[in-house]
Symmetry: C2
Subunit: 440 residues, 2 copies
């Protein structure tokens, strides 16, 4: 589906694609040099194995002691782990519960059914100062200490945070964990949260869920091998992807980019990609909005808009290879003749028919579609998908002229929230002062 001549009227012109590919030649050289020079560790980590023992040992320690592990983290500290945990559960593995929001009702709902006396805690924050993650930790640590005994805390807890500090400020979480004797694993200092899916941040939850980190890294390494080879951009899938998506968005004035996996286990991958694309490229007026969707579900929610609404979207569909698999979906004999089209079919046949129908109706309407087919939604595939889209995003940033790293705009909001909390504290103190003065 990537060759321009197959996309036809719904695609990008040869001229625009060629120009983007040509612009990627020096970009690709820079990227390869940066990898060789060790300044893009989120890519070169694919070939590393020296950190895997600490990951699998920590996972084994927690799994031996915990039926449930509560994972506290937000954004990049959560989405990578969620992706791996959705890949199917080893029945002997602990259940993972991801805590992100700080709504008190949601917090209690998420604890429903969790026996804290058999639970563990994984606290993930690169800066160690993320308000939601600290709040969740401070709410849960006393409860866990009550349920398991304070002396057990170090056995059922792990903390992932930056060893060097962020923006000159050391991680408060690290200091606290050290003081409390909680085991600490390093968040690689030079890898931002949304690029951390293939580091300890994603692979410790993966390992807890029974996904082998070695497999994930091997999947990613396959993408890096092609990237670091001699090939021109057109032969490097993530480079071709960056050229296609940027060129087509420019040429056709697209403002939105839909990522729609059909394999159910890849649903969180669309959310992971949504953060990756938005935070990396949302820095100038040309950034497209990434939209996470889900097959077959969104055929019954969004497809009407995609077909008959504005022609402002690019579609990346991830297909499963499920023909002939799954349970029989044949109608019972009582169903009569109207449902004959389901006769003799299996569930995987319907998935295959549905994904093809979506591709064909979108292209028939002139909507640009890219299809990625995966043989299996497993750790190796997810490692490859993550690496593909990290490289595609970095190269797209080069084409768009934006720095894909950092997220400068959100710092102001974080400062505002802290100020607002500090003001609440002052109000409380003032009220307490009035109370201590006695009622009038």
């Amino acid at each position: 589906m990537c060759r321009a001549d197959r996309i036809g009227g719904a695609g990008v012109s040869e001229a625009a694609l060629s120009a983007a590919l040509e612009a990627l030649v020096p970009a690709l050289d820079r990227l390869r040099a940066a990898c060789d020079g060790g300044t893009l560790p989120m890519i070169t980590i694919a070939g590393h194995t020296d950190d895997l023992a600490a990951i699998t040992e920590t996972a084994a320690r927690l799994a031996a002691r915990c039926a449930d592990v509560l994972v506290l983290g937000t954004g990049g500290s959560s989405l990578g782990g969620r992706c791996f945990c959705a890949l199917g559960r080893d029945p002997t593995a602990p259940r993972l519960h991801f805590f992100e929001n700080v709504d008190p009702d949601g917090f209690e709902d998420a604890l429903d059914g969790v026996d804290l006396a058999r639970a563990g805690l994984l606290i993930v924050s690169k800066s160690g100062a993320t308000a939601e993650t600290l709040a969740l930790a401070f709410a849960l640590l006393p409860r866990l200490a009550d349920a398991r005994g304070a002396e057990t805390l170090a056995e059922v807890t792990a903390v992932i945070t930056d060893p060097t500090g962020t923006g000159g400020t050391p991680s408060p979480l690290r200091a606290l964990a050290a003081d409390m004797g909680l085991p600490i694993l390093d968040h690689p200092p030079a890898i931002g949260g949304r690029f951390a899916g293939l580091t300890t941040v994603g692979l410790l939850p993966a390992s807890l869920a029974g996904i082998r980190p070695q497999e994930v890294r091997a999947g990613a390494a396959g993408v890096v091998d092609t990237l670091m080879g001699e090939g021109p951009p057109a032969d490097i899938p993530p480079a071709l992807g960056a050229a296609l998506t940027v060129a087509i968005a420019r040429e056709r004035g697209l403002t939105q980019s839909v990522m729609m996996p059909y394999p159910a286990r890849l649903k969180p991958f669309a959310d992971w990609h949504r953060q990756l694309w938005a935070e990396s490229l949302g820095k100038d007026a040309h950034a497209t909005t990434p939209i996470a969707a889900q097959g077959t579900v969104d055929q019954h929610s969004q497809l009407q808009l995609w077909l008959d609404g504005p022609a402002d979207k690019l579609f990346t569909l991830i297909f499963g290879r499920t023909r002939g698999s799954g349970p029989s979906i044949a109608p019972p004999a009582a169903a009569g003749g109207g449902l004959d089209w389901l006769r003799g079919r299996r569930m995987g046949d319907l998935l295959v028919a549905s994904q093809a129908a979506t591709r064909d109706t979108l292209t028939a309407k002139g909507r640009p579609v890219r299809v990625i087919e995966v043989a299996r939604a497993d750790g190796r595939t997810l490692g490859a998908l993550m690496m593909h889209f990290m490289v595609e995003t970095i190269l797209a940033g080069d084409l768009l002229g934006v720095d894909p790293f950092g997220q400068p705009a959100v710092e102001a909001g974080k400062a505002l929230a802290r100020q607002s909390l500090a003001a609440m504290a002052q109000e409380s103190d003032a009220a307490k002062g009035r109370d201590e003065d006695g009622p009038p």
Copy 2:
């Protein structure tokens, strides 16, 4: 937040808003006349109670016999029920599991931990011909019959489908359920799936989850009372909402509309709204794309794009009123002074500080923001929110000149999928014919 003079530079001009409100005067008259004439039952249902006994009796029958109820349905047959089930679980209520996708892996994952010998089935399809829902039913009915005994099936099952047929074709699901003796409840014929949240479709799952249908209808009825009163559009919140959203999108060239609830229990509401807006209005080049988001989570995923990317989005933030509630998030004594801003605070304080910070950073950047504050995320609130946004969407359709009912564009895809399955059957038959001829 709705008054134009408070929105200031980030909002809509008085002139554009006035023009939209004026255009809504006849639209509102038509809507009121249609309600009086009984042709908009998705609105007037708010005042009905005659269908509630069947809903609560069916829920009681299933709850008495089932620890888990599997809800089969997609789009509007699923999203309303999901909204209610997220409102917090009565610990005595059965667990609900929503099945939508037909990926075989996802299907098995969803059954993980469900004891079919104690499970029930709720099958929801207005047309009775939705491929995914039929496939899921045909995969599960034999398993449930095996686990519970075929003679028990009628006791632990319910079917919701149209009594009159859709587009001239009677519901195949209805015929089959009648033949198998499965209890059937009517999907109101004149209410499309995405408008069916306040009918049996949404309220049977609500009732199963322990949410009282009467409360939901009462919340919706409050919105309808204001709508049917004498007031001008500016005094009717959903009319003002329609005028604001359409006028601001036109005037500022917005292409996207973000719905971001902060109360965790309203997360599925954003997905419900996403379908409502997309399928109702996605019928011409002016439709905005609805984007479901989640506070505080998407502050760490999308906010960078929203602040520094293109100014092409309108934001509707739903705030919780959680100040002073929830567990303590005070740092332990060991944390030192750097986290003093969390001292004395509760989790709900951080939610309040975060939502205000998002509103303020967005408006400081000139992004248009609408805020809806809810006292509690309960059945009454959700009934009111659903009715508000159904009316807002219908009136927005009037302003945009599109028919908000029907979803004509997706039929072609459904036909394609059926043809593709029928072709697979023919291939299988042909292969079987070859097999029967014997190997060459």
